[in-house]
Subunit: 219 residues, 2 copies
């Protein structure tokens, strides 16, 4: 049986070097190519396809500073003709990260602090078409299925965004042409869903779960 051919996608040269060193030490795994962002990954895939060299697993970081991010890249890869499984290997295990990765079609979700042996097993499992999830990722998905009623409505997300810009309840009310009382009602719902009890904690929680962009970030 030939090696499992892996495409590394990570914007940090250090991390790529680490994965390369780690994975090439294992029998049965070889690095087909590397890419620093999502676009480069797609380029590599098509380049390798033209050479007749398949990729068995894409090892993808979610957080990438510039260019196409991991979620977009995963979604794009899954739209290819014969898409290889995408195994997410990232630093954070937040709800939004996990959910958006799974939604985008990832075959697995592992954390970078996992021991090498676990990463090795995950690569083989993904190559074999199996799904591999870090414990927290698995737990989250279970919880989502059993208890789907906890997601924020578009309106709540909108208020959350305004909240994060530093506006007061009154200012938010004026901004969206509702009363301050209604703003309060929404905030209570938001706090409940996020499991917090004040606005700054809501911003922190929503930012961490990538429900909203970090305050003050353009876009």
């Amino acid at each position: 049986m030939t090696d499992v051919r892996v495409l590394l996608v990570d914007d940090h040269p250090v991390v790529r070097a680490g994965l390369r060193a780690m994975l090439t030490e294992f029998d049965g795994i070889s690095i087909a190519a590397e890419a620093a962002d999502g676009k480069a990954a797609l380029n590599e895939l098509s380049r390798l396809a033209m050479l007749g060299e398949g990729v068995d697993v894409v090892l993808m970081d979610l957080q990438m500073g510039a260019g196409m991010d991991g979620v977009a890249a995963t979604a794009a890869i899954r739209k290819l003709a014969a898409p290889p499984p995408v195994l997410i290997l990232t630093t954070y295990d937040t709800d939004a990260d996990i959910l958006s990765a799974v939604e985008a079609g990832a075959s697995g979700y592992m954390l970078k602090d996992a021991p090498p042996e676990q990463i090795r097993q995950a690569v083989f499992a993904a190559a074999a078409g199996e799904t591999v999830l870090a414990p927290r990722a698995a737990a989250l998905l279970m919880k989502r299925i059993t208890n789907p009623g906890t997601s924020l409505t578009p309106r709540e997300v909108q208020l959350l965004e305004l909240l994060a810009t530093g506006l007061s309840n009154r200012a938010i009310a004026k901004q969206v042409f509702i009363s301050e009382a209604t703003v309060k009602t929404h905030l209570v719902h938001i706090y409940g869903k996020l499991g917090v009890d004040n606005r700054t904690a809501a911003i922190a929680a929503a930012t961490r779960r990538r429900i909203i962009r970090p305050p003050g970030q353009a876009g």
Copy 2:
């Protein structure tokens, strides 16, 4: 001339492997040991010292999930008898990270997305007792010197960080062992310096100016 002996401190096996692979490829650098957190780093230093094997540079990550974090570890190392220079190699370049690292006695501050050649040069520079700073870190420190009046004090930055995690004034007070009154005093100063009038706006302003990392991001 013998190799520059480096102690790697990072909680991610992948990153350690990457740095090891990257650095050992350069002439004149060898890896003395590795550690997954601050405590382990101190242990390694004392172990190597007993063997008569010095360490020329400690390459330290700031963000480490469990155990002693990078700042505490740096401070602890600088208190040793013949402390090796500590070169911070981290993901973020916020004011808070930079300032606390420099205060703790770091000899340099580099970002993980720096090209390998820059990291190599930084290691040699640190080993030679020089100070190496990423552009943003250098700019921040220059600004501190030329214009200290309008910038936040370390204490204020510290409170700002806690603020951004969603803590109440009382919770912040307990966290840093001061009274709630003092927290309020600091916040008033912070609002004045940032030109805002409430805590959420302060978080937004501080995040936008990269004084603090976005709320909820690991650190």
